[in-house]
């Protein structure tokens, strides 16, 4: 059981890293991009914007935590 947990933890750290909210933000951003594209509206602009917001929020959290 411990090995399964360690295996799961390894993959979580590998893909998600130490800020799960950033990974969740990326997933949400891709989902909204898909929804915009499905509505036949230009969707290319959304993900860069979402990444900028997600990155800044993540950096701000880390900067506040390291004070």
């Amino acid at each position: 059981m411990k090995k399964v947990a360690a295996f799961g933890r390894f993959w979580w750290n590998f893909v998600v890293g130490d800020d799960w909210r950033a990974a969740a933000g990326v997933a949400l951003g891709i989902g909204i991009t898909a929804a915009i594209a499905a509505a036949d509206v230009a969707a290319w602009w959304f993900l860069p914007l979402a990444v900028a917001v997600v990155l800044w929020l993540s950096l701000r959290r880390e900067a506040r935590a390291s004070r």
Binding site: A22, V26, T33, A37, W44, L55
Partner: protein, 246 residues
């Protein structure tokens, strides 16, 4: 243009991880013996080749739009992790990656570890080297596979990784010391920028969006991510200076 970005990204990512793996292999070799360390290095290389060999062809079976969505999401997840750390280092919120300090720590730990012989090898030296190379190499293996399959050029991505491997291994053999002079933090910044750029580009295409000008949009996305990163560094530095002054 895309091929150039692809080669540069795979080369830089591989070189950075190889520099870190080299530090661990050197620490293991110097303290625990070269036989165990190099056997660990060889075993990890075989394991990585098996992972690439198994996953590479499997990914080519996935339809390109689904593949780009998956790869884009993964690259964005990786890219933002690299970029976040690089920006925090550049703005002074996180200590710079220092290969000399890591080397000294690994040496100290390896010297105090108990000697246990298995299959004629010093087990600590073998596992230290094996784990170091496997873990550092796994991310590179993913980058090579995902870049190669999404960019429909696995050969070019593999060639970039191979070129980085030859370069770092050659310099490592000649110097026989951690490559502390390599501008590792700058290289990590560049890799973070490139992974994030490709992640945004492919995830958007995979989600059904299309870029104005198709591939010609890639340098524009790159410029956007670079500008975003420098702006974040500048803002965080200003906050830090204001905090110190307060």
């Amino acid at each position: 243009m895309t091929a150039g970005f692809l080669f540069a990204s795979a080369f830089l990512a591989c070189a950075v991880e190889m520099v870190e793996a080299l530090t661990i292999v050197l620490a293991s070799g110097i303290t625990r013996g070269w036989r165990s360390s190099l056997t660990g290095l060889g075993a990890a290389t075989v394991a990585l080749a098996a992972i690439v060999g198994a996953l590479g062809p499997a990914l080519t079976l996935i339809p390109i739009s689904a593949l780009r969505l998956l790869v884009g999401a993964l690259l964005l997840a990786f890219g933002l992790q690299w970029l976040r750390k690089a920006i925090l280092r550049a703005s002074g919120y996180k200590a710079l990656h220092d290969e000399d300090a890591i080397f000294a720590r690994e040496i100290a730990e390896a010297k105090t570890a108990a000697h246990e012989e298995r299959a004629g090898l010093d087990w600590y030296g073998f596992t230290l080297s094996f784990k170091g190379v496997l873990l550092e190499g796994l991310e590179v293996a993913f980058i090579v596979i995902t870049f190669g399959s999404s960019g429909k050029n696995v050969g070019l991505a593999a060639a970039a990784a191979g070129a980085a491997l030859v370069l770092v291994a050659t310099v490592g053999v000649l110097v026989r010391a951690p490559l502390a002079r390599v501008p590792e933090n700058t290289m990590k910044f560049a890799v973070g920028v490139m992974l994030t750029t490709f992640g945004i580009f492919w995830a958007t295409e995979g989600a059904g969006g299309s870029w104005p000008g198709n591939d010609a949009a890639l340098p524009v996305v790159l410029a956007f991510v670079v500008a975003l990163s420098f702006a974040a560094v500048a803002l965080l530095r200003r906050r830090r200076v204001a905090l110190v002054a307060a």
